[in-house]
């Protein structure tokens, strides 16, 4: 299994966590897992929405000390 790559987008406003994830997914290989760290509450909703639309897999999503940890597997 490949390593989980972490993208720390906490406390950054532009381009924003989802945009960072989209850029990160482009660099990743199919099967790779990316963990997005975000302090923006909106990420808990807009990341799953995008993933469902494109067809990637949501591995997990949890909030720890005010930071969302969202793990996504690239499926295609």
């Amino acid at each position: 299994m490949s390593d989980v790559r972490v993208i720390d987008a906490c406390n950054t406003f532009c381009p924003g966590p989802l945009m960072e994830l989209i850029a990160g997914m482009k660099q990743a290989e199919v099967g790779d897992v990316i963990e997005l760290l975000s302090s923006d509450a909106g990420s808990a909703a807009d990341v799953p929405e995008w993933i469902n639309k494109v067809g990637h897999e949501m591995v997990s999503s949890e909030q720890v000390d005010g930071v969302w940890h969202i793990k996504v597997r690239k499926m295609k």
């Binding site: 950054t12 406003f13 807009d46």
Partner: protein, 377 residues
């Protein structure tokens, strides 16, 4: 202290000049030396390309001789780096020379990769190079009407450019009396019209008011040039008559080839601006992997923080300042109105409604930039 700056664009130039001022006496008595290596003897004011694309500026207005922008103490060479040997504190250049350093700053910028999307380079117009901006203007001149689609790749430098070019295209066609023949359609990768929520909040009603249509959660997958259809990763398709794009970017090839960072983005500490694992290597501008705007103002504020730190290292042996994530971006909202966004790691932006005054300030900044690059502003 031997200081080597690789890259003579916005970040490298502001850093070099700022450092030369701070280290005046050290440079005079030989205790410090600043060398700059770049790939070009000319310095381009890249934001001007936006105006070239709609016929409001000429390409020759965007250039200055790089040497003329630099403090005389800076030892400047047009000799791009080909090999970085960070373990031995040296680089090798195209001409075969080796430069050793005590402190290195990397500011090699970024480049567009339209070829990453099948069909995009052949069938879309863009404005991120002089040649493409002039070509785009010629296409606009010839355009007789139809659907103009704006599509945005990720990541890209200048996060305001997608909105700006859309408003400017709307005004360009209006000015030519073609509003009734042209439909401008904007697309954006995430679920609102801009990455910054407050910016999206004013841009969306502005689109509605101007009759600009839009589609969000749209990431380009491929362009079918024969049928003039743009397909998205999300499964939708848009017919176009003229396709305008802000293509996705990568860092420079030399960065990736030397194993400094995937896709040319160098892993960088968000406060110290040092390369991960290398305390004597600073990174600034587009080539960092930081999740912040790839913009000239980012490069500018990073350069100021790094200059203060390198100067302190030369004087007291240790850096003194953290970068706070500061970014300032003008946002052109058409031919004659603009606003701006300012933010850092702690404070989100709060853009005000566009005004003519801010537009004229941006026009003035297009000239003031040269004073800023010299470190006078």
């Amino acid at each position: 202290m031997r200081i080597l700056i690789v890259g003579g664009g916005m970040g490298g130039t502001i850093l070099g000049n700022n450092l030369a001022r701070r280290l005046k006496s050290e440079l005079a008595n030989g205790k410090a030396r600043i060398t700059m290596l770049s790939a070009s003897d000319r310095h381009m004011y890249q934001p001007g390309l936006l105006y070239v694309a709609v016929g409001q500026m000429m390409p020759d207005q965007l250039y200055r001789d790089q040497r003329s922008l630099l403090e005389p103490e800076i030892d400047f060479h047009v000799d791009p780096v080909e090999e970085f040997d960070l373990d031995n504190n040296r680089v090798k250049t195209k001409s075969g020379k080796t430069h050793e350093y005590d402190v290195l700053a990397i500011a090699t910028g970024s480049r567009i990769v339209p070829e990453a999307i099948p069909g995009l380079a052949e069938h879309a117009e863009y404005f991120y190079t002089e040649e493409s901006a002039v070509k785009m203007y010629n296409r606009l001149r010839e355009f007789q009407g139809g659907k103009v689609v704006v599509a945005v790749g990720v990541p890209h430098k200048c996060p305001m450019a997608p909105l700006e070019i859309t408003f400017m295209l709307h005004d360009y066609f209006k000015h030519r009396g073609m509003s009734d023949k042209v439909q401008v359609h904007y697309t954006y990768p995430i679920g609102r019209t801009h990455g910054l929520e407050p910016v999206a909040k004013w841009a969306t009603p502005e689109f509605d008011r101007l009759g600009i249509t839009y589609e969000t959660l749209f990431n380009m997958k491929e362009v079918d040039g024969a049928d003039k259809v743009l397909h998205s990763e999300e499964g939708s398709a848009i017919n176009y008559d003229l396709l305008i794009t802000v293509p996705a970017h990568k860092g420079m090839e030399v960065i990736e080839k030397n194993g400094l960072g995937q896709s040319g983005w160098i892993p960088t500490d968000r406060h110290r601006l040092t390369m991960e694992g290398h305390d004597n290597v600073f990174v600034l501008g587009d080539t960092t992997n930081l999740p912040i705007s790839k913009a000239g103002s980012t490069a500018h504020f990073e350069a100021e923080a790094i200059a203060e730190n390198i100067a302190a290292m030369a004087k007291i042996g240790t850096p003194v300042r953290d970068y706070d994530g500061k970014v300032f971006c003008f946002i052109e909202a058409g031919r004659d109105r603009a606003t701006y966004a300012m933010f850092n790691y702690q404070n989100p932006p709060d853009p005000k409604p566009p005004t003519k005054a801010v537009h004229w300030f941006k026009m003035a900044y297009n000239q003031l930039y040269w004073a800023s690059a010299r470190g006078l502003l």
